[in-house]
């Protein structure tokens, strides 16, 4: 791999972001702990009625994972903007959208993957039948990158503004709704023994489209945010 080629740049950037995340492992653990606490509290609040918990398990896990992901979302470009790395990235002779896609991938690996790994544990605590577990994991594997990509565009759009957290949450809400409906819908259908492939396919289609469009939108939004 020649230094300066696009593939070398992708590897360098991905390795940089993963190394940075590893040096601050505490930040990775935080969303996981948050999800664990939320799911642990549900049985205490609703009572140990296993039929009720089984019915809400899929939805609770989905929403918890989504909220836990939001915790880390606005960190995606912040440190890069603060220390000037983003300008160095923009001046590099590399396609910015692809470089941002690498950053989003690194963010998904550090923020969402740990949550997906503990998701079976979370679902087990709420008595989700183990037969439904693969559907839950499949829906999370599609819905979390979708959220990372949509979130990245919004983070880039609000990058120039101070205290963008509130604005970000407000803008992300309508985009989250369909994701939650389809991913929780797949789990609910599987629990009732109904075919669940259709919502999963919808999520896959949305992910395929976002995967192509979101990095481009992200690059354009970030350029506008810094052109001030």
């Amino acid at each position: 791999m020649r230094p300066g080629s696009t593939s070398a740049a992708c590897v360098a950037l991905l390795r940089r972001d993963l190394t940075l995340a590893w040096r601050r492992r505490g930040d990775i653990a935080m969303p996981v702990l948050y999800a664990l606490i939320v799911v642990t509290l549900f049985p205490f609040a609703l009572g140990p009625d296993s039929a009720l918990l089984t019915r809400i398990a899929g939805g609770v896990v989905q929403v918890t994972v989504l909220l836990a992901m939001l915790l880390a979302l606005d960190m995606m470009f912040r440190s890069d903007i603060e220390d000037g790395s983003i300008e160095q990235l923009m001046l590099a002779p590399q396609p910015l959208a692809l470089m941002l896609a690498m950053k989003i991938l690194a963010h998904w690996i550090t923020a969402a993957l740990p949550l997906i790994i503990v998701a079976p544990l979370l679902a087990g605590m709420l008595h989700l039948p183990s037969a439904v577990m693969p559907v839950l994991i499949a829906s999370l594997l599609l819905s979390t990158p979708l959220l990372s990509l949509l979130g990245a565009v919004l983070v880039a759009l609000t990058a120039g503004t101070r205290r963008s957290g509130m604005l970000l949450a407000l803008m992300l809400l309508p985009l989250c709704v369909p994701v939650v409906i389809f991913s929780a819908g797949a789990v609910a259908a599987a629990q009732q023994g109904l075919p669940w492939i259709a919502p999963i396919a919808w999520l896959g289609a949305a992910l395929a489209m976002t995967l192509v469009l979101a990095p481009l939108a992200c690059a354009a939004a970030l350029r506008i945010a810094l052109d001030a």
């Binding site: 020649r2 590897v11 940089r16 190394t19 002779p93």
Partner: protein
């Protein structure tokens, strides 16, 4: 003054000015930067030195006047990889070591012939600090690490925004030496500073900014 060979003109500004909310920041400005030349941008605080730098990198849009790189209008695609920028924010990751920071640069930009991260760090006097996290370095050492990145990037045009800040006497001499070598290798540099600066290679071209 002889008319410069147009092939040698690296960067040219024609009637360049910049407005922020209809308030003029600077300009109109005309200058030419030839290969092998170092120019000094002078101006008081708030006179638009940093804004001019950001315009030249292509991070800001040119709205008034013309900016030509190699005789063609400056675009992001055209400027990519041609320009190395050292701003107030150094663009170093504080949790990574200088060596790791330069590896990222190497991946993104490629490297200058005959240099690699280790030799670039040696050239700026950071031997022995290669594997220390950047956040533990002093402000001057951070600046030196950023200068090493500048050395490593194979760009012809250097834009240095206040490169002398935080540097000791030895560091200032280092910047001058790097600029001198860069110019002799056919590169060009624009340097902002509000202090008195002397270059080894004689009197530099001066570009004066007025608000």
């Amino acid at each position: 003054m002889t008319v410069p060979d147009p092939a040698n003109v690296l960067l040219e500004a024609r009637q360049l000015s910049f407005f922020r909310q209809d308030e003029p920041v600077f300009g109109p400005l005309d200058f030419r930067l030839l290969a092998g030349q170092v120019a000094l941008i002078e101006g008081d605080n708030g006179s638009g030195k940093t804004t001019l730098m950001r315009l030249l990198t292509g991070l800001l849009h040119v709205e008034d006047g013309e900016l030509l790189l190699h005789g063609a209008p400056l675009t992001r695609q055209g400027a990519a990889g041609e320009i190395a920028f050292l701003g107030h924010q150094l663009g170093l990751k504080s949790d990574l070591t200088p060596r790791e920071n330069l590896r990222v640069t190497e991946g993104l930009y490629g490297r200058r012939r005959g240099l690699d991260p280790a030799t670039a760090l040696g050239a700026v006097g950071l031997l022995g600090y290669e594997d220390e996290p950047v956040r533990r370095l002093s402000a001057g050492q951070k600046k030196r690490a950023a200068l090493a990145r500048l050395l490593l990037i194979p760009a012809a045009l250097w834009l240095l925004d206040e490169p002398y800040a935080n540097l000791d006497r030895e560091g200032i001499a280092l910047v001058n030496r790097l600029l001198d070598r860069h110019a002799r290798e056919g590169g060009a540099a624009l340097v902002t500073s509000h202090g008195a600066v002397s270059f080894a290679g004689g009197e530099p071209q001066r570009i004066r900014l007025h608000a």
